[in-house]
Symmetry: C2
Subunit: 333 residues, 2 copies
């Protein structure tokens, strides 16, 4: 029950430093003209009072919050923690902070539920997430830049920064062609994304061009457990492929598990497997999965850069950006 010790304000600092409140303010606004001498006085006073400018008061007059909303993925896919880390660090280095937008954005019909837009975020980043349409519309309504990171959901019209999935698909096709595979499948998940379509097209077009054979497309789910049955079907009977290119590492590992443990196949001899993402588990002794590394750091840097520029220029034009991907050769292809 400690009494609420009031935090010190610019007025307190002003009094202690013997200057006006506006001067204190200027000291903390980059680019304002203040003499070095008073700057030192103010810093000293501020430090002794443990003063922090109140970001809310500031935002009220500057009309920007230095806050960006972050939509994060629903699934617990291992790369995502890294993503959050990268984006939030990148934001911080640019003077912004991230506020989480829960997966289930409240529709706020009756104006009773608190809404993320009460916080006047300057922009929104949808990080490897399934972008909610109503969120996108709200951003449009309020003229707030929004960008999709690493994944773009089909049919959405927002800006995005993604890996070059088409090229990854092509490279996968080339690799399998080198290994003389002809019966191959592309194994995908259940969320329709542009990123996946691109990867699929790149793979199929290139493989056809190279070999004349058409890869089979099999739709599973991104969830390990429910992907098992489609994978079993895939490996059963005479249609069993020589190689599988998977939409995610998670799927690739499910394939490896089923192939080895239930079908007694040896990888890569009997079956070649290629993943996508390069999640930490790909390096586990039991998998050593050949996969594509997405440059998440670069994706984070670029997406933050783009939205910050858009904030500054009050511009919400759609921008699309692609970043190259890198094949990581391990032991499954």
């Amino acid at each position: 029950m400690s009494p609420l010790k009031p935090t010190s304000t610019s007025k307190d600092v002003a009094k202690l430093a013997g200057v006006s409140q506006s001067t204190v303010s200027r000291v903390f606004v980059p680019g304002s003209s203040v003499s070095d001498k008073t700057k030192q006085k103010v810093f000293a006073a501020a430090k002794s009072l443990n003063y922090r400018p109140n970001a809310f008061a500031r935002s009220l007059t500057t009309n920007e919050s230095k806050l960006v909303g972050l939509v994060f993925p629903d699934a617990d896919y291992p790369i995502h923690m890294q993503t959050l880390q990268l984006i939030s660090t990148e934001l911080q280095q640019n003077g912004y902070a991230a506020v989480l937008i829960p997966w289930q954005v409240d529709v706020n019909d009756d104006y009773s539920v608190p809404n993320i837009f009460q916080y006047r975020v300057d922009a929104v980043i949808a990080a490897s997430a399934t972008l909610n349409t109503s969120l996108y519309e709200e951003c449009e309504e309020f003229n707030i830049p929004i960008i999709q990171y690493a994944r773009v959901v089909e049919g959405t019209k927002s800006s995005y920064v993604i890996s070059d999935n088409y090229e990854a698909g092509q490279q996968a096709a080339q690799l399998l062609h080198q290994h003389k595979a002809t019966q191959v499948v592309y194994l995908t998940g259940d969320v329709p994304t542009l990123t996946n379509d691109e990867r699929q097209s790149g793979f199929i077009n290139e493989f056809k061009a190279l070999t004349g054979c058409s890869p089979r497309i099999i739709e599973a789910t991104y969830d390990y457990a429910s992907a098992l049955d489609p994978i079993r079907d895939m490996l059963t009977g005479e249609h069993c492929p020589q190689a599988v290119f998977c939409a995610t590492d998670n799927l690739a590992m499910a394939v490896m598990d089923v192939a080895r443990l239930e079908f007694g196949l040896t990888i890569p001899q009997d079956l070649k497997v290629i993943g996508f993402d390069n999640i930490p588990q790909t390096q586990w002794l039991n998998y050593q999965l050949t996969t594509f590394r997405q440059d998440f750091q670069r994706l984070a840097r670029e997406s933050v850069k783009i939205i910050i520029e858009q904030i500054a220029s009050h511009n919400t034009d759609r921008v699309k950006m692609m970043v190259p991907v890198k094949l990581i050769q391990r032991n499954t292809a």
Copy 2:
């Protein structure tokens, strides 16, 4: 370059609804007395103007931000996404939003870097993370409640909500004793935490009481790759244990991989393995790991409840809470 369409304010709504600005305000403050009739008028006006109360302006007068700072883990351990999801949802349901505190909290010595405390968070949750001492001190300085979730770093004095690790340790000991194991080891990571100590003590004390034998304690790292060598040492020579209880599932899977792939051991016949956390990978066909499930949902609910109560009562007393854990029997013990 679209012109910045100004968001509508309570004044705009008031004009349209034909009431005073204070009345509009009351409509959006729960518990204020407004007649049903005017409430309807105001809601209608608000809706047509797409009005959202400005949380910053509100926070300026109420002196609370409805924002809680969230420290999240540095490692990409799979449970953590779920954690973030759970906590942020729980917060939202209570009218709060989460702002991320990057792992590297800026020390802000020269008052040039923006600091999370500029946002006047009402509380801080350190989620499965390594709590930074300076962060803790800042919270104390500003009288802000802070709580550790699921993990407590040794030597920290903040509140916490954790699983009952001691009991988990005991249960692991009992299980291994049932299996007549006598040569057992407790395999731990490299970050000193109270949660780990408790688990270790519970395991050792109970195992000694039951069998008279002392488990060996081996320190590895929480990172898979660097844990490999200590694990190899552990399995080499005549000291090779009959069973290993691991501080995390991640470690347990590293043990399984090394044991099977490099030492040709069969699990559980040659070596029993027990993990801790119940991460998604434990259910993979290749592992089917026996482990302990932490009730993360409950941990999230309780920690949010505690800090919200503390915010309301201006109380930052230390509270400690423990939640039971559940043994998930699968195929490794």
